[in-house]
Symmetry: C2
Subunit: 221 residues, 2 copies
DNA sequence: TAGTGGTCTAGACCACGGT
DNA sequence: CCGTGGTCTAGACCACTAA
């Protein structure tokens, strides 16, 4: 019953978790020596873990210069959000075709948690429940590749939102749009679901860019 | 003016190319010793290259058992085609908004090459021009992440099509649907472009699955 | 030109599969 | 229980940077 057996798997999983959790922030250097000490392994497993994460796109490696956590620049945020947009729109439509009542209940329950977290200003929980909501819609299709792609880009939302939080404005629109989406799912209205998902993704994307730009100017100050 | 400098980059690029070209087929083992000999490097660069490709999803590594080129099973084909579907649909709509006349000309020229290749039964060229057509539509949006995602899954089309070729039937519908798409782009008809792209992706996906199943039963025989 | 840190090799170690 | 082949360590080597 041992989980991952090899060292490079352990290091890879630990690193990925640290990046997702935010312990390692975008731009942070990943020095081999440091990780050798942290995980009590040699250089080889560390390098292999880093290479794999580079393949996944979380980490950037410059030859002879080293690795660092991928920077979230404006370009990447826009691109990631657009892919999210394409996925969310399509899988909202798909959900109408295949979503079960059981998953609908799950969505409703996630949504309840999200609203409660928002009302209590529990930003971390709100972020995770929000991502979970969208992930669950995609996962309902049982498409591994779509889920992986979603996961790859959800780090953008997670990281920026964690830095800025939810505005009073957004704390209202997010639940409203989610409830509209659930309603459209319930009455099996594919067109409506697509349009709501589309609108939701656009407004989320635009706000994230705006927050990012604000963040940059604040950091510069 | 040296291209990639480090060994692991060279090996990674060579391996990736071999997989895309089909020199290394799905399921082929990637033995470290073999690659050490082939590329004249030690085990370390080989392992790092493999790990990165595993991150990209082209290669599967089982701990203590080794790496092999990813198998194209029915599940993966379906999932990949569905992601392609989501991308193609969305970026067809997007192209109407942002596509330039210059890119339209490029598309027309690619399409000409594709039709010529089909009429001459030049399958390899047809495959590449076909992929190029769809890639170009996505690339017009200038979205790096979308392009990478497209690239990741285009290997499915490439590999299966290479094994089976184009049926007389498909040799007619592909150009027809592409021409319809170009026409919709030209009159900036987003709704039509989306629906054509959608239809095109669905029929391509269904045919690939069918071909795959046929291929499996032939191989088994 | 010294220091930091990434890259690569050689070889020991060990898991797994066949005999 | 031997062979094949994947995994890991130790250390040499080398690219970059700063003084």
């Amino acid at each position: 019953m041992t989980e991952t057996v090899t060292d490079y798997e352990r290091v890879r999983d630990a690193l990925r978790l640290d990046i997702v959790k935010g312990t390692l922030a975008p731009g942070d250097r990943l020095k081999i020596q440091t990780m050798m000490a942290r995980y009590q392994v040699g250089s080889n497993p560390v390098r292999e873990a880093i290479q794999q994460l580079q393949g996944e796109g979380m980490v950037v490696v410059s030859p002879n210069k080293g690795a660092s956590v991928r920077q979230l620049d404006e370009r990447f945020i826009r691109d990631a959000m657009e892919v999210r947009f394409a996925l969310d729109t399509y899988f909202a439509l798909r959900f109408v075709e295949i979503g079960s009542y059981q998953v609908l209940d799950e969505l409703q329950s996630i949504q309840d948690n999200l609203e409660q977290a928002l009302s209590q200003n529990d930003v971390d929980t709100a972020i995770e429940e929000n991502i979970l909501f969208h992930r669950r819609v995609i996962e309902a299709a049982g498409n591994n590749e779509a889920s992986r792609t979603f996961e790859r880009y959800s780090i953008v939302t997670r990281t920026i939102r964690r830095l800025i939080g939810y505005s009073a404005q957004r704390s209202k629109t997010v639940p409203k749009e989610h409830r509209q989406l659930i309603a459209a799912f319930k009455r099996r209205d594919g067109t409506a679901a697509m349009m709501i998902a589309r609108n939701h993704a656009v407004s989320a994307g635009e706000e994230l860019i705006e927050l990012y730009l604000k963040m940059r100017s604040n950091t510069a100050a």
